[in-house]
C-alpha cells in the first residue's frame, strides 16, 4: 500500500515537473506565397521555444534547418509545431526545401 502511494506521489511530481518544463513560449511564423513572415525572428537564448508554423499556401512546404537539425513537411493550409532550443546565442538559418529560392529565414537567439 505504501509502495502504491509512493508511486502515485512520484508520478504526480513527475507530471508537475514535466508540465512546468513543457511551458515553452510559442513563437508564430507564417508561410505565404512561399515566403516566411517574419523571415527573421528573435527567440530567447538558452530556452526551449515552441515554433508554430502556419502554412497559408495551398501547397505543402518543408521546413528545414541544418543548423537546428530540424526537418518537417507542412501540408498546404495547415499548422505545424516544431520545438527548438535551448539555443546558444547566434543565428540559425532555415529554409523551405520546396521553395528554397524564396522561402528563407533566420532565427536569432539572443
Amino acid at each position: 500500500m505504501t509502495m502504491k502511494r509512493a508511486v502515485i506521489a512520484f508520478l504526480s511530481w513527475l507530471w508537475l515537473l514535466s508540465s512546468v518544463a513543457i511551458a515553452a513560449p510559442t513563437v508564430e511564423i507564417a508561410i505565404e506565397n512561399h515566403v516566411f513572415s517574419p523571415s527573421q525572428l528573435s527567440v530567447p537564448a538558452g530556452q526551449k521555444v515552441r515554433l508554430l508554423v502556419i502554412n497559408r499556401d495551398a501547397t505543402p512546404e518543408e521546413f528545414e534547418s541544418y543548423e537546428l537539425n530540424r526537418e518537417k513537411v507542412i501540408a498546404g493550409d495547415s499548422k505545424a509545431v516544431i520545438f527548438i532550443g535551448p539555443l546558444d546565442a547566434g543565428d540559425y538559418p532555415f529554409f523551405g526545401e520546396f521553395n528554397p529560392k524564396t522561402a528563407q529565414g533566420v532565427i536569432r537567439a539572443e
Partner: protein, 257 residues
C-alpha cells in the same frame, strides 16, 4: 523549378537507393532472388500514397507530433527488420522466405516515408505551377541520379569478389546506414519535445557542411550530423552496436558449424 525538383528527389532517393543496393548484394549472396523487392516497391508505394494523401491529418494528430511519431516508428521498425535480417543472413541453409520478408519490410518502410514526400511535392507543385513536365523531368533526373549511386554501390560490392568479403562489407554498411536512420529519429523526437533537447557535442559544420554534396552523401551513408547531441551519438551507437553484436554472434555460430 527543375533544379529544386532534382535536389528534393535526389535527397530522398539516396538513402533508399543505398539500402536497396546493400540488401540486393546480400540477396544475391544468399540466393534470395528479387521478388521481395517488387513486393516492397508495390507495398511501399501504396503506403506512400496513403501517407501523402493524409499528411495534414497525420501531422496535426497527437498535438502536432503525429508526423514525427509516425516517421520515428517507421525508422524504429526498419532497425528491427534489419536486426532480424542479421540474425538469418549468415544462417545456413538460408531461409529464403524469412530473409525476403525482412528485406521487403525494410525497403517498404523506407519507401513509405521517402516516396510520400516526393509524391506530395510533385503532385502539388506540378499542379500549381502548371508546369508538370518540368517538375516530372526534375524528379526523374533526381531519381536516376540517386539510383545510379545505388547501382554504383551494388557493383562496387560485387567487384570485391569473395562472398565473405562482400558479406562483411555489406553488413558493415547496413549497420552504419541504420545508425544514421536512428539518429534521424532522435532529431524527430527532439523536434516534438518527446526527448529533451541536449546541446550539440561538437560542431563540424565549418569543416564539412551538411548541405554540401559530400555532407549529403555522408548523411545518407554514415548518418553524418554536423552538430550531434548526446542523443544522436547514443542512437547511432545503439544501431551500430546492436547490429554488430548480432552479426558477430551469428558469425561465430555459423562459421564453426
Amino acid at each position: 523549378m527543375l533544379l529544386d525538383a532534382v535536389v528534393i528527389v535526389l535527397r530522398e532517393v539516396l538513402e533508399a537507393a543505398l539500402l536497396i543496393s546493400l540488401l540486393l548484394a546480400l540477396s544475391r549472396l544468399t540466393e534470395t532472388g528479387i521478388r521481395w523487392l517488387l513486393v516492397a516497391f508495390a507495398s511501399g508505394g501504396l503506403a506512400a500514397l496513403g501517407y501523402a494523401a493524409n499528411i495534414a491529418v497525420i501531422s496535426e494528430s497527437f498535438d502536432y507530433a503525429g508526423q514525427e511519431l509516425l516517421n520515428a516508428s517507421l525508422q524504429g521498425v526498419i532497425w528491427l527488420a534489419v536486426l532480424g535480417l542479421f540474425i538469418f543472413s549468415q544462417r545456413r541453409p538460408y531461409q529464403h522466405q524469412v530473409l525476403a520478408l525482412f528485406m521487403a519490410l525494410t525497403v517498404a518502410l523506407a519507401l513509405a516515408r521517402e516516396l510520400s514526400e516526393i509524391l506530395l511535392y510533385v503532385q502539388s507543385y506540378g499542379e500549381v505551377s502548371g508546369n508538370m513536365p518540368t517538375v516530372l523531368a526534375g524528379a526523374l533526373i533526381g531519381l536516376v541520379t540517386g539510383s545510379s549511386i545505388g547501382v554504383l554501390m551494388y557493383f562496387s560490392l560485387l567487384w570485391l569478389g569473395q562472398p565473405r568479403i562482400i558479406s562483411n562489407v555489406a553488413h558493415g554498411f547496413l549497420a552504419v546506414v541504420i545508425g544514421g536512420i536512428l539518429t534521424q529519429s532522435v532529431s524527430l523526437l527532439e523536434q516534438v519535445d518527446y526527448l529533451p533537447a541536449l546541446a550539440p557535442l561538437w560542431d563540424s559544420s565549418s569543416w564539412l557542411p551538411e548541405r554540401s554534396l559530400a555532407g549529403q552523401l555522408l548523411y545518407a551513408l554514415l548518418g553524418y550530423e554536423a552538430t550531434p547531441s548526446a542523443w544522436h551519438l547514443a542512437a547511432y551507437l545503439l544501431g551500430l552496436g546492436s547490429l554488430a553484436a548480432v552479426f558477430f554472434w551469428q558469425r561465430r555460430i555459423w562459421s564453426c558449424a
